[in-house]
Amino acid sequence: MTEDLHQLAKMLHELDDQMVACMKCGMCQAVCPVFAETMKEGDVARGKIALLENLSHEMIADAEGVQNKLNMCLLCGSCAANCPSGVKVLDIFLKARVIVNTYMGLPAVKKVIFKGLLTKPALFNTVLDLASKFQGVFTKTASEVIGSSCSRIVNAPIIGERHFMPLAKKPLRKLEPSLNTRPGKGGYRVAFFPGCVIDKIYPQVGQAVLKALRHHEIGIYMPTGQCCCGIPALASGDKESFDKLVLRNLEIFEKENFDYLLTACATCTATMHELWPLMSGDKTQSMQDRIAAMAAKVMDVNQFMVDVVKVSMPVQGSGTKVTYHDPCHLKKSMKVFEQPRALLKTNPNVEFVEMADADRCCGCGGSFNLQHYDLSKEIGTQKRGNIVASGAQVVATGCPACMMQMSDMLSQHKDNVAVKHVMEIYAETL
């Protein structure tokens, strides 16, 4: 046991150079959504880093306790974005999850999902397609405006009290099987990576993106066989599955030439742009170069529309009140926050209103929502409060994961606020 711990500590030494930059100033307490709820130091970046340091210096024996603290995290990056010392908190946490996980082993349920399903897109898709056919049996429509469903089975293991978005009747993959078109007047050619959530739950977002691209005569490459960007696996510390997913996607997208690799999912964008290269250090140089080249092409679709296509300037719209939620992975990771707002304002039927704390995390955090639903809900309820207080009829955002979380919160409170992707609202104007 102690010998094992020694091994674990040695692996964690890799993070020492990054961790030592944390000056323990505690300023991350001001912005961490999890800390705001639990008010426990072990849940904020400073505490987690201290725990990892102590594990690395063999001062702690309870690796599982540290792992639990590490998992009490939305990976929202709020701490990193506000850290006076510029500590790369997310890099540290993700690498630490991989290391601690390698040591502790992956829990059985996750093993099945990541190793079995995510890395085999065909199987994953079939399972979910089947689920979509049968889900009517389990769920009933809870809110017309939001279109989410809540569980009919009380206390079903994962569904619980959540107002889950139903799986789409037909995923994007079935609606738009594959595309490979040349650019027209738009001049550019892009690859489009819809990502799991858009494909399976919000295909209309994918369709809005495609509509806009076609409208601007942008060439589109959307190959079949795309798989998950890898973040759920990585966040759970499963680097092996993550690597497989990166490689598969890489091979598929390397087949063609294009200027940008677009996504409409903030989480996918940040993962592919930042984490793919970050986690490639153990690969051969040529592989690292390939990953870096692909990552450099990754761009958020809002940013593409505003900065590259240069869509027409904002108008002073009136009509539907729309507010905007900043996904953490767009604002804090990619520094994209002006473009989606500009895009919303191009719609003459939209009166844009800012909500309070627009860049406060919605509390979804991927598997955090599954592991710590109560906390996730507390954080989401605050977001819901700000949305409602803004008086908006629609809340727009740039990440389907945030869309799911906000739908859940709004639907549970029976609010008449619709949740949309910015691209849906933009596409309405075309």
């Binding site: 020492d16 150079d17 030592v20 930059a21 000056m23 323990k24 100033c25 505690g26 300023m27 307490q29 001001a30 008010m39 426990k40 130091e41 072990g42 505490g47 201290a50 725990l51 102590n54 001062m59 702690i60 024996a61 309870d62 306790g65 540290v66 639990n68 603290k69 006076p84 010392s85 510029g86």
Partner: protein
């Protein structure tokens, strides 16, 4: 090891979630913002009511457990690092309510865990003003501010935390309730114990409720940035501004090293060759008066040899002028792994001598030091950039810190303007004061805390 029965007693009192004894929880309360070795507490307790806090203190006392109260744990002097044997950390963030903001009588009553910036914002919503603004205010607690007598950027004109403390009600070491001060402007009932609590760093009592003074806010302000090619000129300017009966609400200085670190970090176009930058802000109750003062300040800056003076026309420009100061710590902190942030303070006329000495010390010990701080009140932050893992270099840092304190004292200054003594600086205390001072303080402590259980070892050692 603590007995199971005692643990259970705490759990019954506070609820299971508020009694933290797991290894990972305890390790998360073993440090604060000071660059010191951590000490892991045996137990972490979080009372959520006044009665629970009192009972917690009494139980610790009965069981001879040394108690360290912890707010946000942002102090820079080791004040919240617990005691080695059987140390218990008592958290105040379960008691973070603002109990009253009285707009007629201009006071507020708060629980100790209330966060400074949140409180200041609530006060501002009611058209009033709570001026103390430590750089950590977004997270620091008012209890921590009082216990450290925290200062901030507005110190020169508005004073520091002690100037706003009207009363402190606290639990003594035995868990009995002590009331001091009150809600009236005038109050001479009994000893002035409330002010004794200010800066006591958790060694004399555990605050339960704090009564704070509020003031009307200024209605207008104006910010200026002046560049100097000679630090003496900057210092003369500061003296001249004050001699002209103008008291700016902020008067911040960045030295040449800091300017360059900020410029490396922001590329905002700061003058790399400037010896110093002064950021000056004046405020007041009438826009015309403020404009007048601002004009005068610009004149004085020019007269005393400022190379360039910029005045902000609007809020956006003001924000821009502040950029350099706001980025001082972030820029310095990013330059090297470890940031040792000191706060030696000298009479304001001695700032040039102090900065020169700091730079000489930097050269002597081959260390990177950037200095910024509150030029108006002489409170400087020499910031040593280092890597604590490099034992040899860190030893030089310790020697340099010793010398910085020696110089500060020789210039008629003090060890610490606002960061407190804790354990980090207790060994120098006698140098600044006298042996008798330490003995007097220890006797005082012994009298109110006979078992030496309230944050033992802090400030006066022992």
């Amino acid at each position: 090891m603590l007995s199971t029965s005692l643990l259970n007693e705490f759990k019954t009192l506070l609820g299971k979630d508020n009694v933290m004894d797991s290894e990972s929880d305890r390790h998360a309360y073993s440090y604060d913002a000071a660059v010191l070795d951590s000490v892991v507490p045996e137990l972490v307790l979080r009372p959520t009511t006044s009665e629970q806090l009192g009972r917690t203190v009494a139980l610790c006392n009965e069981n001879k457990l040394p108690m360290t109260v912890r707010g946000a744990g942002t102090n820079l002097s080791g004040g919240t690092i617990p005691t080695k044997e059987h140390g218990v950390v008592i958290l105040t963030n379960g008691m973070n309510k603002i109990l009253e903001i009285n707009e007629e009588d201009l006071y507020a009553v708060v629980q100790p865990g209330a966060v400074t910036a949140k409180f200041a914002a609530e006060v501002a919503k009611r058209g009033l003003f709570y001026p103390p603004d430590p750089g950590s205010q977004a997270v620091s607690t008012l209890g921590g501010n009082v216990a450290e007598n925290a200062g901030g950027l507005r110190g020169l004109k508005y004073g520091v935390t002690k100037d706003y403390v009207m009363g402190v009600n606290f639990w003594n070491a035995e868990g009995e309730y002590i009331k001091s001060g009150g809600k009236t402007v005038k109050c001479v009932t009994g000893l002035n114990i409330a002010q004794l609590m200010v800066g006591s760093e958790g060694t004399l009592g555990v605050f339960d409720e704090i009564i704070l003074k509020l003031v009307p806010p200024p209605v207008a302000s104006k910010a200026m940035l002046a560049e100097f090619d000679d630090i003496n000129k900057a210092s003369e300017t500061v003296a001249a501004i004050i001699a002209n009966k103008i008291v700016p609400c902020t008067l911040e200085l960045l030295d040449n090293a800091t300017i360059n670190y900020v410029e490396d970090f922001t590329k905002a176009g700061l003058p790399r060759d400037a010896a110093a930058i002064l950021l000056i802000e004046v405020d007041g109750g009438h826009i015309a008066l403020v404009d007048d003062d601002a004009e005068k300040v610009v004149e004085i800056c020019k007269k005393h040899g400022a190379k360039r003076v910029q005045m902000a026309k609007d809020a956006a420009e003001k924000n821009k002028l502040w950029e350099a100061r706001r980025n001082a710590l972030p820029a310095l902190a990013r330059a090297r792994p470890t940031t040792v942030l000191e706060d030696a303070t000298v009479p304001r006329s001695q700032i040039p001598a102090m900065i020169k000495a700091i730079n000489d010390i930097g050269v002597k010990y081959k260390l990177q030091i950037g200095t910024f701080g509150h030029a108006g009140d002489g409170n400087l932050h020499p910031t040593i950039l280092t890597d604590k893992r490099d034992k040899e270099e860190f030893h030089r840092v310790e020697l340099a810190v010793d010398e910085i304190f020696d110089v500060a004292l020789s210039l008629g200054g003090t060890l610490s303007g606002e960061h407190g003594i804790g354990t980090a600086k207790s060994k120098w205390l006698e140098k600044e004061t006298t042996k008798a001072t330490i003995i007097y303080s220890r006797r005082l402590k012994k009298a109110v805390d006979p078992n030496y259980l309230l944050n033992p070892g802090k400030i006066i050692g022992g």
